[in-house]
Amino acid sequence: MSEQGAAEFEGLPSSAPAEEICLQVDNLSLAYGDVQALKNIRLDIAKRSVTAFIGPSGCGKSSLLRCFNRLNDLIDDAKLDGEIRLGGKSIHAPDVEVSELRRCIGMVFQQPNPFPKSIAENVAYGLKLHGALPQSEIDDRIEEALRRVALWDEVRDRLGESAFELSSGQQQRLVIARAIAVEPEVLLLDEPASALDPISTLRIEELIHQLKDRYTLIIVTHNIQQAARVSDYTAFLYLGELIEFGVTQAMFTNPQDQRTEDYIAGRYG
């Protein structure tokens, strides 16, 4: 209902016509003190798809992403209006455990941020937080997560080594493994490849393709080609507003808004 509302209201093409909706952003506004970072955002994220947020630096991409797992709660003067629903249920409802929410919605950051622990302990970190699993189960899950990010063969012999021994591309795949080890529904990726070399970037992009089978992915990028390569849907934000949102293919070939067209053409730098 609300996605139709959003589409009508913004006059945008319907966001996810045929697919199941995972996340709904309903009239979301965010202010850091006096700075209005997001204004009346409405958009729906389809399940098991890749949605890209693009836009010039400072337009609010990260802010929006961090609303999904309520990471903005940490910022004292952040003020939120509107609602986000996960599977139809508001993530701000009083009975929602933030830690439970964050287990369902994993996140990967721009800088690889492994913990100063061994490779295995990094992957097991989230698992050990949520209830006691037998060690054999944990070992299996570590292997599975590392296999899914195609890191297993590279690290199987040195699981006990410090995660800092890995290259930054490997570290980034490690933190993705860490995020998916707890079996989230959604994975948020905030410019996951912008600190990496081209080859590592390619591997991350391949990985995103594969992960789409199981998870709903939202990726922030300011690399337009990357958005075109990896995403099914793209949202273009500009100065805190959602300018255009739709199927990536359509948006890149036929942008509806002048600003979108300018940005895609590289005119905002």
Binding site: L71, R103, G106, F109, P116, Y125, G126, L129, F164, V182
Partner: protein, 551 residues
């Protein structure tokens, strides 16, 4: 060609260019570093030379001294020479300070002699030096050895007889120490417990217990037995007596039980001297002090200092870390926290004696007094915890060093990248889990830096300790074999205070002076040891928690 032109130009530009090149700054930096290194090295060298030389078996001089027509014979060790002052009042000659020992028969044991009056200076090979339990060193010639009333050897043969008795003496002394600690002390302790129990009963208005009376009687009987054993051992120890002739013909009689070491420095080889030296250092490190601290060792002070510093670290680390965690992680950053932080920094600058006064008023009288009132009411008015002691000294120093730990920890927390915290939170960890599993381990090197600074400050603080538990001489160590083994309420000795006591309070300044240096060196060593173990631990933690963002 062009090179030469450039050089010429460089010269012409002169001073301002040289200044702008930054070279003067580099030189100044290097100078500052060199100065501080040489200051530290000089300090250590001075302490080492003045302190460690004391243990070397110096030659014993014998000479005749003519003073205003009176001729005396002198034997002793040359401690130092002083050149005549050049004010030319009297054309004085060089002055020699000689340790003549034999304080009992011929005090004082340090005397000044004018070099001009000294004649016939020799180093006779048969002179012996005796270190004994009382009265400082004795210098003289071996005369005779008596077993009871029977003379068993005389002259040079005495030496061999003493050698022959060495092992027996040692085993007798060990036996005496054994009886003392396992017998007499243990019974004293048990009797004290009984007395407390009796007082408790009286305090609770219970009738006197017959059982206690019997136990006391039994203990007293056993005590008498041990006393008897001790008397026998001492009699055996003192059966043999050594007679020495001093230079002036007096006789020194010395029970062998009082003899600690005897040596003939003038006929010792280098290796013998070296062996003697190391035994001296060992005794200094492992024995308790004698004769108002001017003789003997400093073991109780080493023990007290280390224990106090360890206890202080155990107290201050969790306290400082918790406070820093609250300030940095939980408290809402604002004016109030800023003020608190400034206050904490300022606390680090409060003179340590002020902490001592606070510790006495708060910890000793208030907390200790309250503990006594609540748990040791039967022992009052004699205080148990309401009196200066190790625990209160540790608490006071923990308070004194808390700002250092808090500030260092906060700095470490601030250095942890935000993405690490968010990474943990984003995995569903709560704030507390994030702190415990990631943040505190990552801050641990910084925490240890704080502890290292705290240890250095605490081990060096002597002034506040005088108020809260350090004493010149403590008859017992804070740890012994009697339940509950660690007696935190006891007073203790401390190297810093020991230095003060030796240097300023001692009656026998000359005897104490080398010990001042040796003890100061030791204090530096203890601090270095404590610090370097913490630094070692820190570098291991740093390797472990080295974050890729920090390089």
């Amino acid at each position: 060609m062009t090179d030469q032109v450039e050089v010429a130009e460089g010269k012409a530009a002169g001073w301002s260019d040289w200044w702008r090149s930054g070279k003067p700054l580099v030189w100044l930096n290097a100078l500052a570093v060199a100065l501080s290194i040489s200051a530290v090295a000089g300090l250590l060298a001075l302490l080492a030379v003045r302190g460690l030389a004391h243990f070397w078996p110096a030659e014993v001089l014998a000479f005749e001294y003519l003073d205003q027509g009176v001729k005396t014979r002198v034997v002793g060790e040359l401690i130092r020479r002083e050149s005549p002052s050049s004010d030319g009042l009297e054309a004085a000659s060089e002055q020699w300070l000689v340790k003549t020992g034999n304080r009992r028969v011929n005090p004082p044991d340090f005397r000044w002699y004018a070099r001009d009056g000294i004649a016939n200076l020799r180093t006779p090979a048969d002179l012996v030096v005796v270190e004994r339990r009382e009265w400082g060193r004795a210098y003289g010639r071996l005369r005779a050895l008596y077993e009871g009333d029977a003379r068993v050897a005389s002259g040079e043969r005495v030496w061999a007889e003493i050698e022959a008795r060495r092992e027996q003496l040692q085993s007798l002394r060990a036996a005496a120490a054994d009886v003392q600690s396992k017998g007499v002390d243990a019974i004293d302790h048990a009797l004290e417990q009984l007395r407390i129990e009796r007082r408790k009963r009286a305090f609770d208005a219970l009738p006197p217990s017959l059982e206690l009376v019997f136990r006391e009687r039994e203990l007293k009987e056993r005590s008498a037995e041990y006393e008897q054993q001790l008397r026998e051992i001492h009699a055996a120890l003192n059966r043999d007596r050594l007679h020495l002739d001093t230079m002036n013909g007096e006789r020194i009689e010395l029970p062998l039980g009082d003899l600690i070491r005897i040596w003939r420095p003038n006929q010792m080889s280098w290796s013998e001297k070296l062996g003697h030296y190391f035994v001296g250092v060992r005794l200094f490190l492992t024995e308790g002090p004698r004769e108002a601290n001017t003789e003997g060792g400093v073991f109780p002070a080493i023990f007290g200092t280390s224990l106090m510093v360890l206890l202080m670290s155990v107290l201050v680390t969790p306290f400082g870390v918790l406070a820093a965690l609250y300030l940095h992680e939980y408290a809402r950053q604002g004016l109030l926290v800023r003020i608190v932080r400034i206050a904490v920094s300022n606390l680090a600058g409060v003179p340590s004696i002020v902490y001592g006064v606070f510790g006495l008023g708060f910890f000793v009288y208030f907390i200790g007094g309250s503990i006594d009132e609540l748990f040791y009411a039967h022992a009052r008015p004699a205080p148990t915890f309401g009196t200066p002691g190790l625990i209160w000294a540790s608490f006071t120093l923990a308070l004194l060093t808390a700002p250092v730990v808090i500030l260092a920890t906060e700095e470490g927390l601030a250095r942890i990248p935000r993405s690490i915290r968010e990474g943990s939170l984003a995995l569903g960890a709560t704030k507390a889990e994030t702190l415990l599993r990631v943040i505190v381990p990552m801050a641990s090197p910084a925490i240890l830096t704080g502890v290292i600074l705290a240890v250095a400050r605490a081990a060096g603080a002597a002034a506040p300790l005088m108020l809260v538990g350090v004493v010149k001489f403590a008859p017992t160590l804070p740890i012994d074999g009697h339940f509950p083994y660690i007696h935190l309420e006891r007073q203790f000795m401390h190297l810093g205070f020991h230095i003060y006591d030796l240097g300023f309070q001692s009656q026998n300044v000359e005897a104490a002076r080398p010990l001042v240096f040796a003890t100061a060196l030791l204090l530096v060593m203890v601090i270095l040891l404590l610090n370097s173990s913490a630094i070692l631990l820190r570098s291991r933690l740093e390797r472990r928690y080295r974050s890729s963002y920090q390089d």
